[in-house]
Symmetry: C2
């Protein structure tokens, strides 16, 4: 079988690009920076959405939908916010096209200059401003609080350098926007949603994450504090996998959102926002996949088990089909999604490679000999192992195997992260550790200036200051100034 993908060792970036397009996950579109999410990629995203949506609802949130467009004046109301996003805004200026030219040859479609908007509209890069403008009408009294709303939506940030899933001009995401009566409640919400993201990353995506807070430099534009989860990819680079922002009263003040407290006095509302995006697809791919293709944790796999019949005659296929149907009934009773790949155009070897490429966690091969022996061949995608197992009790064995794959994938990712986490105390050690790749735990003097100098010299950023961080005396790796804790440095996606 010809190799479909560039290997990771040969060219990690090309491997990623090959995998994303060939495993039917996504593709570049004709529109600069915008991707097409292909069916297999979208099916995984749907599984992510379902799991997250349930977690949001279980924590008391409801969904709603706000406009795609934001008047330029709204975006401008919070000064830091607009500074953060102004460089990346897609701007709608007109609302009509017209056709000029009378013949098919001269015919041309142009923007109708008579249909210029009075005020430009920005395609939302994030929705704080349009939402807080709406909340002004919805929040009058403490009885209207907390307001716990989430939105699933597309957003646009005009990025100059794009990469499928990781950085695209348009992406899909969810954005939670909550309003609270007190600062304390808003901070609790910010932390609660960070916990939800961490739980999702670890339990569903099988990716260990560090929970922490961002330095002021890396804060969301308009936030008082940005919490994040940071994951490590196979190449040792960091990837920010979700953020949860405590917004203080910044947006309430910008949009004059006040509530009457229980003593009937008006106060500004406290806010949070939090989001994860299709970027998580990139994290999923780069955490687990290998040179044969995608490896998907069973909880997010659109198809968890594929059955490939191996046959030479209609009669053989018929007998295998009967056995497969029985097995599929048992698997579906256990809520396991299974596909019987009985198309007669492709050979089994081709099918095996396809399912490996697409990351189906468990593959079963059934031939006439297996039927005679009451067994099947079971292959695990995560370990690329095969074993012959009895047909009897197979559904339960598969259920157990799927659980084992899920926990094995997490364990493997965690072990890799631990092996690639370096504790350093000097600048020389710091640079050497960065070159090995991974997270570098080092002391920092706490200033934005030092952070910027380190970034300039090494391309490494402070990924986060871990929550519940161990306090210890040390010296900043660059300036030697005193420090009370280590922070997480890494080069990042």
């Amino acid at each position: 079988m010809a190799k479909v993908l560039t290997s990771r060792a040969d060219d990690y970036n090309q491997w990623y690009q090959d995998l994303v397009t060939k495993a039917d996950l996504a593709d570049h579109s004709a529109v600069r920076g915008c991707m097409v999410i292909k069916p297999h990629g979208y099916a995984i995203w749907e599984k992510m959405q379902q799991a997250l949506d349930k977690m949001f609802k279980d924590t008391g949130h409801v969904n709603a939908y706000f406009p795609l467009f934001i008047p330029k004046s709204f975006l401008s109301k919070e000064a830091k916010h607009v500074d953060g996003f102004a460089q990346e805004c897609a701007v709608v200026t007109h609302h009509r096209l017209k056709t000029i030219g009378d013949t098919p040859e001269t015919r041309q479609v142009v923007v109708d200059e008579k249909a210029k908007l009075d005020e430009e509209l920005i395609v939302r890069p994030t929705s704080e401003t349009i939402i807080w403008n709406t909340y002004r009408d919805w929040i009058k009294s403490h009885r209207d609080l907390p307001l716990l709303i989430n939105q699933w939506a597309n957003v646009v940030r005009w990025e100059m350098r794009t990469r499928l899933f990781l950085r695209t001009a348009e992406f899909l995401w969810q954005e939670g926007h909550t309003a609270h009566a007190t600062k304390q409640e808003a901070i609790e919400e910010t932390e609660r949603m960070l916990d939800v993201y961490a739980e999702f990353a670890e339990n569903f995506m099988a990716i260990p994450v560090i929970k922490g807070i961002k330095t002021p430099n890396e804060r969301f534009a308009g936030a008082e504090e940005t919490y994040c989860i940071e994951a490590m990819m196979q190449d040792g680079k960091a990837l920010q996998a979700g953020t949860s922002h405590f917004l203080g009263q910044n947006f309430a003040k910008a949009f004059e959102v006040k509530f009457a407290n229980s003593e009937n006095k008006l106060e500004y509302v406290w806010a949070t926002s939090w989001g994860v995006s299709t970027r998580l697809m990139g994290a999923l791919i780069m955490s687990h996949s290998d040179d044969a293709g995608l490896v998907i944790p069973p909880k997010l796999a659109p198809i968890q088990v594929v059955i490939v019949p191996i046959f030479r005659s209609e009669e053989e296929l018929k007998a295998i089909t009967d056995a497969a149907n029985k097995l599929m009934t048992d698997l579906r009773a256990k809520n396991i999604t299974v596909k019987f790949d009985n198309n007669d155009k492709d050979r089994p070897g081709f099918k095996f490679a396809q399912h490996e490429l697409k990351g189906v966690p468990v593959r079963l091969g059934i031939g006439p000999k297996d039927l005679a022996n009451g067994s099947v061949e079971m292959a695990r995608r995560d370990l690329m192992t095969k074993e012959v197992v009895p047909m009897e009790g197979l559904a339960q064995r598969i259920a157990d195997t799927l659980d084992d794959i899920q926990s094995n994938m997490y364990k493997k990712a965690l072990e890799r992260r631990e092996a690639m986490t370096h504790y350093v105390n000097t600048w020389a050690e710091f640079e050497a550790a960065l070159d090995k790749g991974g997270f570098v735990m080092a002391h920092w003097d706490g200033t934005a200036e030092t952070e910027a100098r380190i970034k300039e010299q090494t391309k490494a950023t402070i990924r986060c200051i871990p929550l519940n961080n161990k306090q210890e005396d040390g010296q900043c790796i660059l300036t030697g100034k005193p420090s009370k804790e280590r922070v997480v440095f890494a080069r990042a996606y």
Copy 2:
């Protein structure tokens, strides 16, 4: 209790507007023509999405996602298509803002003229062009066909007169885009999806619909044939509830999408597209609701049963809570969604009115007397009736009642449609029937000119030519020319 809504008899349009905003369904936003879909409205839309998505997947479709933006040149490739949408296009011309002014007072955010796009981008009004441009890369051989893809997305059509859910500049929808090897298969797909829509409207929304085809005048811009389902609202106006288009080879030709057939000869691909939108929310509201608020068919109700405790002491509440918890367990075992409305701030009468406004199908009131008698008071939203029923066997009784509400709502809507469908043979009868409201079944000479004259004189349009229409000789109501069948005329939303 003060009346919350304008009554339908007083002002039907104001009733609709009141209901949509007060039942927490949607609201106008600060962006011209764009709505905010509020949590209760969005929850109903999610139920619709889930049901439709399952039906699409059961008929072999997969989901994907294509870019929000369409290059102007793409939209222009199919001449009729661009003519149909040019008037309503939101156009992105720039990709950056900048801040001018050095002080907070003079500070201003403006469009950066240096960041003008080489080619304008249109915010998708529909996605045929960007999708068929992508399909050119995906379709090479007959083995790649059929390609059966659906997308859930937002679209923008710059409408001048907007109305919540019914006509908004941005709306949410799904759009299916399929590619086939033969004309016959594409027509079968077009009809299959029309059947899916009709089944959804009737079985889930409890709205009877007429399946038919549009006249050339009313065809989708770029289609060879547009199929539709037409529903009748309470005021007798028609509402187009879904369309399915046979696109022929128009888009394949515009975007050069060819496949190698089984003899290895290149042929253009055949296409369909089909969609329903948040407009269905308008249809749902106007089909069933009344002066007390929303009436939702149980299959689409986010909460199917609400339990309101009636108590004066903590002790009474505790006893009712125990009974309610037991009942909720039984209901949830039957997949019935139930809410226990035990907040102690609002009085039962207020809660009753709120749940009526929001359309909860079944409401239970439980007080100390009910507990003593082993009974509860059960109220049906569709009939606004109440009865005292035994606690024993209650979960099953509620399940049966929900089924009965679902079928009763359909029956009522069907009876109304039948009562408001008029068969007329003369112009005088035609005008009189239109003034009574409803569908008017009349002969038409088959010309676009007559259709246009009728519309001009009466504001009535031909909603559709029903599928499997009865053939009978008659004379056009306007011109007296011979006709072979009646078509459906109505004034429409």
